[in-house]
């Protein structure tokens, strides 16, 4: 695989993109069935609403949002599968709507819970099919095959029928297939979904290595915020088709005034700490949230020294899941 360096040309540019879907509505009542045949009830859904952002070459972007926020729609528009209702898109300087074929030679897309493997063929046959369809030169194919086999630990499963692979194995095989043609950008829709802890860790490490060493631009969507935080530097949060947040995870914590957690283990009651909010208190473990910009650590320890029943103290970053959950709740309101 070629080494890529950061370039000035952005990997992708989304400019004022909107996408409107039409959904058919059904009441489920028999009396409406005939009416719906001739004059179906429709509802317009604005999946994306004047969305604009840029991604530089070599970036690792986490693209998150609640269900129905517009993540998959964005990926489909970027891959040229869907056309935006309005706005402009360019990926690697190409327009997905017009240059789909050329674009597909340079990007890789893997949708969540879908596979590109051939069910009744071994993995290696699917890879050979890919070689033909993408017209990958033999030497590049051999080089990339060796690389993905090693990095994704595929040697045991290359000759296995896709239908007999476990979910984790299938995900690895799909990822390996995605990389055979040297894509410059890859879009991953929920790549860690359904994977066990070990498989998840391996996949995350692999993606980070890919981004760091090969300079491949990676856009990944997921609901698992911990995974995203581990992988990506930048996060875009979507809400109702618009960008609700664009920055890094530290800035995201600050947005919610929620950057840290204090966890106290004590044999007595929860200490009273005015500047902090007690989130949960059970079986001697008390969790507080606070903004470490506003409250100094030595002040915390000063107050806590008045409580001799304290056994243990932990100060950690606020779990990103909690921050996101608070954000989602605030958007609903």
């Amino acid at each position: 695989m070629q080494n890529m360096v950061h370039q000035d040309i952005p990997a992708l540019v989304i400019d004022n993109v909107s996408k409107i879907y039409v959904q058919w509505q059904r009441s489920g009542k028999i009396k409406d069935i005939v009416k719906n045949l001739f004059s179906p009830e429709r509802k317009e859904i604005k999946a994306l609403d004047r969305l604009s952002f840029k991604v530089s070459s070599g970036e690792f972007l986490a693209y998150a949002g609640a269900n129905g926020a517009g993540k998959s729609t964005t990926i489909k528009i970027l891959s040229g599968i869907l056309q935006p209702t309005s706005g402009n898109i360019s990926v690697l300087g190409m327009f997905p709507g017009k240059d789909r074929i050329k674009l597909m030679e340079n990007i890789g897309v893997l949708f969540g819970q879908r596979t590109e493997l051939w069910w009744d063929h071994p993995v290696i046959t699917s890879y050979e099919w890919k070689k033909s369809v993408w017209n990958i030169p033999q030497n590049i194919f051999d080089e990339n095959l060796a690389m993905v086999t090693e990095l994704l630990d595929l040697s045991d499963i290359l000759k296995t029928f896709a239908r007999e692979l476990s979910l984790g194995q299938r995900m690895r095989a799909d990822l390996g297939m995605l990389l055979l043609h040297n894509p410059r950008i890859i879009f991953l829709d929920e790549p860690t979904l359904g994977l066990d802890v070990l498989a998840k860790k391996k996949m995350i490490n692999f993606l980070k290595k890919l981004n760091k060493e090969k300079g491949i631009t990676i856009i990944v969507t997921s609901h698992d915020m911990d995974d995203l935080e581990e992988m990506a530097e930048r996060i875009i949060l979507l809400s109702k088709g618009q960008i609700a947040f664009d920055g890094n995870f530290e800035e995201l914590r600050k947005v919610q005034n929620n950057s840290s957690r204090l966890i106290i283990t004590s044999s007595g009651e929860a200490p009273v700490l005015d500047e902090m909010e007690l989130i949960i208190s059970e079986e001697g473990k008390h969790s507080y949230k606070f903004d470490k910009e506003k409250i100094k650590i030595n002040e915390i320890f000063k107050k806590l020294s008045q409580y001799p029943e304290i056994i243990d103290i932990e100060i950690i970053k606020a779990p990103i899941e909690d921050i996101i959950a608070d954000l989602y709740n605030s958007w609903k309101k």
């Binding site: 058919w24 059904r26 489920g28 028999i30 069935i33 719906n36 045949l37 001739f38 179906p40």
Partner: protein
């Protein structure tokens, strides 16, 4: 007090041991109501899902069916001149035969979701419902294939058939009644055959779709629904009408149109196949159950 128990759990879907109790009548009524309510809900859900498109997209299928029917009427008209008979069957009877074969196709060629559900693995969902698996599959068949086709094709065609010069009525009142009885037996036989087929198909694993395709083609020929048996040379028709497939399609249609005079023999053959194939079907289904649930999907 011992209460009425009706076993409808997955393991005993074919067996219905009933414990009579003091509240016998109330119990039976309650359980029947519950079962019917569950079945009816499944029927309605399956029927409604057909109507997700507008009239153009749904009517495409019915238009093609209608064209097939028109083609067959034209073929029979070109083969048998009006007023003449062929092997004792007049043109008007053959046209009525084709009409009813087209209208009753979903009932005469029963394909339940059993085979596809086994393949996809969604059969497991039927086992988690408080209704017999076979009952569930029957309800889905009625909802998905019978109701929409009857409402949007069968009934309108039957009503409009006089405009096409085709007599939609049975040969006589007695023929009509016996054809109805024969139809019920055909439907029962159709479900039994489908159950048997699904039980065998699961053993074929990846080959089950191949078997499905072959089954449909063989059915078309051997049931008499497409070409009446009286048109088969070399006495083949007489042989085919005694076989299970022939008991499904040919039997009710020939009784309805009056082509067949030995009605009781036909009905007797149907009853025979019903007994044999239901016993075989249930036995083989039970034996194949575990394989179906563990392999499916």
């Amino acid at each position: 007090m011992i209460f009425l128990k009706l076993y409808l759990n997955p393991g005993a879907h074919c067996r219905i041991p009933v414990f009579l109790c003091l509240n016998f009548k109330k119990g039976i009524k309650f359980m029947k109501y519950k079962v019917l309510k569950s079945c009816w809900a499944t029927v309605m859900m399956s029927a409604k899902q057909v109507f997700d498109g507008n009239i153009l997209t749904i009517s495409g299928e019915y238009f093609i069916k209608f064209m097939q029917f028109i083609m067959f009427t034209l073929i029979w008209k070109s083969l048998i001149k009006d007023g003449k008979s062929f092997d004792g069957a007049e043109l008007s009877q053959i046209l009525t035969y084709s009409l009813m074969a087209s209208i009753l196709k979903p009932q005469l060629d029963i394909v339940t979701p059993a085979t596809s559900a086994l393949w996809e693995g969604s059969i497991i969902g039927r086992y988690t419902r408080p209704i017999s698996v076979i009952g569930s599959l029957i309800a889905e068949t009625i909802g998905r294939y019978w109701i929409p086709v009857f409402l949007f094709y069968g009934l309108p065609l039957w009503l409009l058939s006089p405009l096409l010069g085709i007599n939609p009525f049975p040969a006589s009142f007695f023929n009509g009644v016996m054809a109805f009885v024969s139809l019920l037996l055909s439907i029962s036989l159709g479900f039994a055959l489908d159950l048997l087929f699904a039980s065998f198909a699961i053993r074929l694993k990846n080959g089950c779709w191949a078997a499905t395709r072959a089954r449909e083609s063989i059915y078309s020929l051997l049931s008499g629904a497409l070409i009446p048996f009286i048109f088969f040379p070399w006495g083949l028709g007489k042989v085919f009408r005694l076989l299970p497939f022939g008991s499904i399609g040919n039997a009710p249609l020939t009784i309805y149109t009056g082509i067949e005079s030995e009605i009781m023999i036909i009905v007797g053959v149907q009853m025979f196949w019903n007994v044999v194939l239901w016993i075989a079907g249930i036995k083989i289904f039970e034996k194949s159950e575990e394989r179906m649930i563990s392999f499916g999907g």
